[in-house]
């Protein structure tokens, strides 16, 4: 497969304080070279005998492929990022305020990362959508190979010195400021709309427990910490508890096999949360039994492992 050239996404003669010479050199030499290199690597990879290729050859080619492909993609996004009047749209201002506190706070962070990459460094500042959390972050990349997994970059500031040295010399700050004056905000907002359609990893489905409500482990921790009336019970199987020899601080363990012996201790006035090892069937089944008995019961996602993963204090029972 060959990668084809994309026409430059901005009009080079319309960019205040960025010379046509700089933009042309950037597009023809740096973007163009990345694409040419990418295709040369693709040709080599196509003809490679993977069974008999020494690992250093394959490592080298795949590393260079990653750098060349990201250089191609990020440069295209860079040229698409500029060409506007630098005036934030209402829609984007609201979105950035949602994720960063305010438009100014976003701008201050984005700009500072760019300044920090100046002075003889190289890299990218990317405004990136994270589908897992449905939010934007500013990502700092010190070379072409660094990108947040599964993210969608929507604004790219090239901090390699080829992006500014010709016009600004070592004055990286002036270049960052000029970039921000040239941002095409309506186009950015459209890219955000496209990015926001991307969803994160699908949760594991447990159709057999479809109507049992789960509750997040962070939420349970918060309820305990703030003294909300809630009865949290560890219902891991006896074997799991004796193997692990630890329980969460402040939470009682009850044997799920012997539910009839302890169900009478619970109060129907306050909600009940039960959990097993990882958030699978034992917790769900116990929650169903409690609900059938008239309790406001939920199971906690991620279980005992989840509590440990978020750093809830644990005591050993050994």
């Amino acid at each position: 497969m060959r990668y084809t050239l994309k026409q430059i996404h901005c009009r080079p003669w319309t960019l205040p304080y960025l010379s046509v010479k700089l933009i042309e050199s950037h597009y023809e030499n740096n973007y163009g070279e990345a694409l040419r290199r990418l295709n040369a690597i693709a040709v080599q990879l196509e003809s490679l005998d993977f069974e008999n290729t020494p690992r250093h050859v394959l490592n080298g080619l795949k590393r260079e492929e990653l750098a060349a492909l990201n250089s191609t993609l990020l440069h295209e996004l860079y040229f698409a990022s500029i060409g506007g009047d630098g005036q934030p749209t209402k829609g984007m201002s609201d979105i950035l305020a949602r994720d960063f506190g305010s438009l100014d706070r976003w701008r201050a962070e984005f700009r500072a990362i760019g300044y920090a990459l100046g002075g003889g460094g190289s890299g990218w500042v990317l405004l990136t959508y994270i589908p897992r959390d449905g939010r934007l972050i500013n990502q700092c990349a010190s070379d072409y190979s660094q990108c947040v997994a599964g993210s969608v970059p929507i604004l790219a500031l090239d901090m390699y010195e080829h992006a500014y040295h010709m016009d600004f010399g070592a004055n990286a700050r002036a270049y960052v400021d000029v970039f921000l004056r040239n941002v095409d905000w309506p186009a950015l907002e459209r890219r955000y709309e496209d990015a926001a359609k991307v969803t994160g990893l699908r949760p594991l489905e447990q159709p057999e427990f479809g109507d049992v409500q789960g509750i997040g482990v962070e939420e349970v921790k918060e309820m305990i910490a703030t003294g909300k009336p809630v009865q949290v019970i560890d219902v891991r199987p006896r074997a799991a508890v004796s193997r692990g020899q630890d329980v969460a601080e402040g939470i009682e363990w009850r044997d799920p096999e012997l539910i009839q012996q302890w169900i009478g201790e619970l109060s129907k006035a306050d909600p009940v949360v039960v959990y097993c090892s990882y958030g699978f069937h034992i917790g769900c089944k116990t929650a169903i039994k409690l609900r059938d008995a008239g309790f406001d019961a939920k199971y906690m996602n991620s279980g005992h492992s989840g509590l440990k993963a978020i750093g809830h204090p644990i005591k050993t029972t050994a």
């Binding site: 050199s25 030499n29 740096n30 070279e33 990345a34 750098a67 002075g119 003889g120 460094g121 190289s122 010190s142 070379d143 072409y144 390699y160 010195e161 080829h162 040295h165 010709m166 010399g169 070592a170």
Partner: protein, 301 residues
């Protein structure tokens, strides 16, 4: 301790094909900026006890400290690599490159090609002395943090775009050629000698050690041609071709090599033989010292 930026070791108006504007910007902004940053990081590390800050904060500071430190050191080496001395490379420096790369030309081809391959990105090409094997290698670095452990950098070509964009734009190849045209070979040779001497002190053999050892004359081919005598009991081998004869040495026996004065030719050869598994040392004072002490020679046949 606060690091002080060094002056440019040459007059920036006198290099060929590298403008004063470029060299001054590189020195003042990129090099001096790195020194300034390093001092700020050191101050921060002094005031923040390592145990009292988060692991990610310490990681961040130490990473930046490494970057700024190497940026300072490599930039100093870069500027020291350049000069207006147009003297040709010393024969012993040619030998050192040929012994590791096959020939000076092969070395130059590789060094230049690595530089050009880094064009449009960033990084360094560093000719480095590698003490484990007594050899020279062209080291590729994609950023300031890449370095061969225990290696001693001798010649540094800055491939960050600040090193050339002002004069050459994206024409990285033309910049690499201009760099090569301005290399001060005499200073490179001096750095090489120092590196070899510092790494080989433990391999000294005295005149009295020679009697018990297998003795090899490793004077440079050009120097040996002019000579009329050897140390008694020695045979000559080309120090540029250690791989070709190392395996012919008597296994398990102590070996002493000598050059003319006991400097880098004999020392580096002893190191290369050590890397090949031979118990080699070099003769302190070399052929000259032996002769001056009135020790026995045999005529060259």
């Amino acid at each position: 301790m606060s690091a002080q930026p060094a002056e440019l070791p040459f007059d920036p108006t006198t290099l060929t094909g590298l403008s004063e504007k470029l060299l001054r910007s590189h020195h003042q902004n990129n090099y001096a900026g790195a020194v300034k940053r390093l001092n700020a990081i050191r101050a921060k590390l002094r005031e923040a006890p390592a145990a009292g800050i988060g692991g990610f904060e310490l990681n961040g500071l130490k990473r930046e400290e490494l970057i700024a430190t190497n940026s300072m050191l490599l930039h100093e080496l870069y500027f020291d690599s350049l000069g207006t001395d147009r003297k040709a490379m010393a024969p012993a420096m040619e030998l050192a490159l040929a012994a590791s790369f096959g020939s000076v030309e092969r070395w130059r081809e590789e060094f230049v090609a690595v530089g050009k391959a880094l064009g449009g990105g960033s990084g360094w090409v560093i000719l480095t002395f590698q003490p484990r094997e007594g050899t020279l290698v062209n080291q590729w670095a994609a950023d300031h943090t890449c370095a061969i452990a225990g290696g001693m950098p001798l010649l540094a070509l800055d491939m960050y775009e600040h090193a050339y964009h002002i004069d050459f734009g994206a024409a990285a190849g033309a910049y690499v050629d201009a760099f090569m045209a301005n290399v001060d070979w005499s200073r490179l040779y001096a750095r090489y000698q120092k590196a070899v001497e510092q790494c080989s002190e433990a391999l000294t053999a005295s005149h009295d050690d020679v009697a018990k050892a297998h003795l090899v004359d490793v004077r440079r081919a050009g120097a040996f041609e002019q000579a009329d005598a050897l140390i008694e009991g020695a045979e000559w081998r080309d120090p540029g071709q250690v791989d070709a004869w190392a395996s012919q040495l008597p296994p398990g026996k102590d070996v002493v090599v000598y050059c003319v004065y006991g400097h880098e030719v004999g020392r580096a050869t002893a190191m290369r033989l050590r890397a090949a598994g031979i118990k080699a040392r070099f003769l302190r004072g070399g052929f000259d010292g032996w002769k001056a002490a009135g020790r026995p020679l045999s005529p060259k046949r």
